[in-house]
Chain length 320, copies 2
């Protein structure tokens, strides 16, 4: 490890990011306490260079994605973000400049989402950069939004537009030649910088019957909900909201519809509840679309406008 | 990834390890709440195959070491262990049998230390196995043992014996030919399976003025304490407690004394306080040795029996 070494990097780049209770990262551990009447919500995710990001990104973008995919899990639970720990496993030849820029990206997200660093470590590895973050949020006791809780008759809603993550990955790799550069850039940016739906998650507390974020793929994540809720789901493909770049892509290459519903990395929320749920959450300012219904039975069925089942392997998701 | 895939492994091997509040790992995140009057203490550490462990260990041993190095940080803070999250980044060709054995190792530690799994992820990587755990413990509010707090006149104490981690690493790699196989095996086992000093940490709460665990090396970790406490330390090498295997090794190869004080991986506790501190903590059942004094000034000085300074680069530790 050239340059400052682990201790120098922690002191110069990470310590300034420390939250109250983290003792400027000079201790073996940090303390955190939920507000009265609240409990902590904890989630963790890893991103690996070449697997979860391409490697041509700016360090700031990688830091942003690492925290945002975790913040999206907190959003899915209806939690307010508070703090995080960080595990940086970096190739031996990574430069101080890279680490400094990565930490600048962390600082930007800390400011945008009101979180602070609790602790972490920085180690060298002969392998690719491997970055884990563990996020702490909080919810009023017992009010976390669960995947369990969907009932037959519930409507299925999604935030924003679906498929931009998967199409954006193709675009970022230069494999989406069917659309023009402007649209490709928009999609790639959606892949690289997901938007965790924190405000929507807060609005869903006490209103949604179940919820998850869309990280494995729309159908896979609905699959997770119906599995633990012991119900089934019917999703109407024609109702799945697309961005205009997504519409362009599907018009040019119709087979991309499979990427849209199985591809993952959207980091929108999918949730269930009564028909009037939309009224209760419009303060969150995110477009919401009803895409289907919860039914008795099991599994996820995708149907076309004629209510005919579309045959599809729903990817990341395996039915038990 | 052959075999069960990520979802199958989580369902079959990890979900049975889930704590209450972790919803059998079927949710995006888990909830945890400290007992009334307590706060959570959070720490995280990563181990990389070929860097922090050799790679010839049994999966159970690797799981044990991963949790134990983190539990040692909780011990250093005087915290009771509660729960943890896990990030498994594994080579694509790792088998289900390896993951099952690794999870058996986690289960063993969960039973021994009274902790449960809150959540985690499992991803593939072209690099070496990279395993992070984030441990949550709890302490009565404001009673965490800090590195800050040592004052001139305080005595410096360590638990157990020092240097076995560093000598054990040499032994485990077959590079400690100066001692016989029996002693080498004992030392290697100390390196592979550290003993977090949880009971001692609890006994030190309210009694020690400062403390840390010995992970970077005896002198380096005392260095961390004196730096944030704005004091200096004088450590007497002759008082540093050695195991009988350690004594054998140093007798055969005197230059190994440097490994003993700089090598790290002991996971004993080093702490400061008044002379009668030993009386107050003997209930913890761990041998305690006074090895020096805190003084005004800065830095860590190692002296021989004639009180002459021993010149040494104290490794992991860099003075600011």
């Amino acid at each position: 490890m050239p340059g400052k070494g682990e201790f120098g990097r922690i002191r110069d780049y990470l310590a300034p990011l420390a939250l109250d209770g983290a003792f400027d990262l000079t201790d073996d551990a940090a303390t955190i306490n939920p507000e009265p009447g609240h409990e902590l919500v904890i989630t963790t995710d890893t991103v690996v260079e070449g697997v979860h990001y391409i490697g041509d990104e700016q360090p700031e973008q990688i830091a942003s994605k690492l925290l945002r995919v975790n913040l999206s899990d907190l959003a899915a639970m209806g939690a307010s973000p508070r703090a995080y720990t960080l595990n940086m496993t970096l190739p031996g030849d990574v430069t101080d400049a890279w680490v400094r820029a990565f930490c600048q990206g962390l600082a930007d997200q800390q400011r945008d989402f009101g979180i602070g660093l609790l602790g972490g470590d920085s180690v060298s590895s002969p392998g690719p950069a491997t970055l884990s973050a563990t996020l702490c949020g909080e919810v009023p006791v017992g009010q976390a939004i669960r995947r369990e809780g969907a009932s037959p008759g519930d409507y299925i809603f999604v935030s924003g537009t679906i498929g931009d993550g998967a199409l954006g990955l193709l675009a970022a790799k230069g494999e989406l030649a069917v659309i023009d550069e402007f649209e490709a850039t928009l999609l790639a940016e959606r892949y690289r910088t997901p938007e965790p739906r924190i405000a929507l998650g807060l609005a869903l507390r006490g209103n949604a019957t179940a919820g998850a974020d869309i990280s494995d793929g729309l159908l896979a994540d609905i699959g997770h909900i119906v599995d633990v809720s012991n119900v089934g789901a019917i999703v109407e493909f024609a109702k799945v909201p697309l961005s205009s770049a997504g519409e362009f892509a599907l018009k040019a290459e119709p087979m991309l519809w499979k990427n849209v519903v199985t591809g993952g990395d959207d980091y929108e929320l999918v949730f269930t509840g009564p028909e009037n749920l939309v009224e209760k959450i419009k303060s969150s300012g995110v477009p919401i679309t009803c895409i289907g219904r919860i039914v008795s039975g099991d599994g996820v069925q995708l149907v076309n406008e004629q209510k005919k089942s579309l045959p599809i392997d729903i990817g990341g998701y395996r039915h038990n």
